[in-house]
């Protein structure tokens, strides 16, 4: 029963990873930018929420109505001022740019807020610890279920946006061929700004949930980036459902690993990630060699 519980907890945790990964996947899918500042932007979102709740009478969920549009605007500005320019300089420059941005965000947050570890847990009252008791050994946290629900909602919403709306068509067309998109009347700059805005707002949303479910400080971002990156890669690039699956695989790997040995939580996630990556490489090589049978036949 304890294993069932761990798997359930893994799925719930996977919801958080999928939410965290969705913005990263969107930005890579549309703009071909691997945003190395994604984790730090998430943490920045958490600090932004903290700031708004400290300075106004808004509760944390109401404050989202201010923070998410604000972060989306930040994403648009980021695109206009930095990413757009760096994209023109080739594939490597955006990596360096976002890496630099990550360092800047970490240090500005450190300057402002110091090294204290913070949490939004106290602000959300009961939600931080209440849960449904399924059996003696299986508890489902309300907050974790909420996060999983939001993640599924976000991914369904993104999917509908991309498949069913004019802006979604423009996003997919621009992702495939930005030059030709311009030639059929799509303003690629505007499309990129929309994509960057959504991606940054999603990162901030994930950061807020990180802050609610555990704790964060100015340097929490890079670890979150790695989890998001692993979820995206496990799920397969360019697929939103894959991102959900990837998040859940990573979450389950971590909780099951933690059950085997509490020290193995993080490392077992990384091991599963590497194993899947290696399996894909081998599979690709086998396919390139003309299938397993051809490979075996040649050795004989």
């Amino acid at each position: 029963m304890i294993w069932v519980n761990q798997i359930i907890q893994g799925i719930l945790l996977g919801g958080y990873y999928a939410l965290l990964a969705s913005g990263l996947a969107l930005m890579f899918g549309v703009m071909r930018i691997i945003n190395l500042a994604h984790g730090d932007i998430a943490v920045m979102g958490a600090f932004a929420l903290l700031y708004v709740t400290d300075h106004t009478s808004l509760g944390p969920f109401q404050a989202l109505a201010v923070v998410l549009p604000g972060m989306a605007l930040f994403g648009v500005l980021l695109q206009r001022t930095m990413l757009e320019r760096s994209l023109r300089a080739g594939v490597l420059v955006p990596l360096l740019t976002t890496f630099g941005l990550a360092i800047v965000i970490q240090n500005v947050l450190f300057e402002e807020y110091g090294a204290d570890t913070r949490s939004l847990g106290p602000q959300i009252g009961d939600l931080a610890f209440t849960s449904w008791i399924v059996t003696d050994e299986i508890y489902i946290s309300h907050l974790a279920a909420l996060i999983l629900g939001v993640a599924v909602g976000v991914l369904v919403g993104l999917q509908l946006l991309l498949r069913r709306t004019p802006i979604g068509r423009a996003l997919r067309a621009t992702a495939e061929d930005p030059d030709t998109a311009g030639l059929v009347g799509v303003n690629a700059r505007a499309v990129y700004m929309v994509a960057a805005g959504i991606a940054v707002a999603l990162a901030a949303l994930a950061g807020v949930f990180l802050a609610m479910r555990s704790s964060f400080d100015a340097y929490s971002g890079p670890a979150q980036l790695i989890f998001a990156f692993e979820a995206v890669v496990i799920g397969g690039l360019g697929s939103l459902w894959g991102t959900l699956a990837g998040g859940i695989v990573l979450g389950v790997a971590q909780t099951v690993g933690a059950q085997i040995n509490p020290q193995w939580q993080i490392i077992s996630g990384h091991v599963v990630f590497l194993a899947i990556l290696a399996a894909r490489l081998i599979l690709a090589q086998v396919t390139a060699a003309g299938g397993l049978r051809a490979l075996v036949g040649r050795e004989q």
């Binding site: 068509r169 495939e176 061929d177 030709t180 998109a181 059929v184 009347g185 799509v186 303003n187």
Partner: protein, 241 residues
């Protein structure tokens, strides 16, 4: 008034100057065939008019407005549409989505998805299919349809018959004739002289980035065009001097 004017246009790809000092004028309702060997600068000239390349010198005037530095998506709104070489459909979008995408910023006009499907019946059954799964002829039809969705005043067609079967080429030209009869203004880049001359009202021949021959399609003999196409007159001229 001229619909399109290029004045002493230079376009470069890095160090390579692909279009040199090209001045052209195109009247409303004309069909211009732009011919020339590979590397003569035809595609570059077309893409510069559509806004995909920025000229290094010269001006492009469309309908009285200087559009030299206007971004491509704004030119689409003004009424310029390019059917690019190699079709360049969005392969992961369906045929219908490709059409709707182009129809988003349309000028007011007669073209819509239904009308494109009427003009290109081969697309009807492929409406919901991914554009990447289409045959060459179907893709070309979809690419032309996509350009028409913007209700262009000037339609630029780059190598529409390249890689198509003779039957598919005949089909594409049949639909071009319908467009021309409807009063469309076309610029046609074509390797196939015969096809180009069969629909064009005027011919411009390019060689190494320059316009070397220009005249009404009816008055130029095939030999004259061929000579200009390969630069024979220049070669003999140089030999004589």
């Amino acid at each position: 008034m001229s619909l399109l004017v290029t004045e002493e246009l230079d376009v470069r790809h890095g160090l390579l100057q692909a279009v040199r000092d090209v001045s052209l004028e195109l009247q409303d309702g004309e069909t211009l065939a732009l011919v020339g060997a590979n590397g003569a600068g035809k595609t570059t000239l077309l893409r510069a008019v559509a806004g995909a390349h920025t000229p290094s010198a010269g001006r492009i005037v469309f309908d009285g407005n200087d559009i030299t530095s206007t971004p491509p998506h704004v030119r689409v709104k003004m009424g310029i549409a390019l059917v690019p070489e190699g079709r360049r459909l969005f392969t992961r979008l369906t045929v219908e989505e490709n059409l709707l995408l182009a129809g988003r910023v349309r000028r007011p006009g007669p073209w819509n998805v239904e009308r494109v499907l009427e003009a290109f019946p081969i697309l009807r059954e492929k409406r919901k299919a991914r554009a990447g799964s289409l045959s060459g002829g179907q893709q070309q039809a979809a690419a032309i349809g996509r350009a028409l969705m913007t209700n262009p005043r000037l339609l630029l067609l780059d190598e529409v018959s390249l890689g198509l079967s003779p039957a598919a080429v005949a089909g594409v030209y049949e639909s071009l004739r319908v467009l021309i009869e409807g009063g469309a203004t076309l610029v046609l880049v074509e390797q196939d002289l015969q096809q180009a001359l069969s629909v064009a009202t005027r011919v411009v021949c390019m060689l190494e980035g320059r316009v070397v021959l220009e005249g009404p399609a009816g008055e130029l003999s095939r030999d004259e065009v061929v000579e200009a196409y390969f630069g024979l007159h220049r070669a003999t001229g140089e030999a004589a001097s």
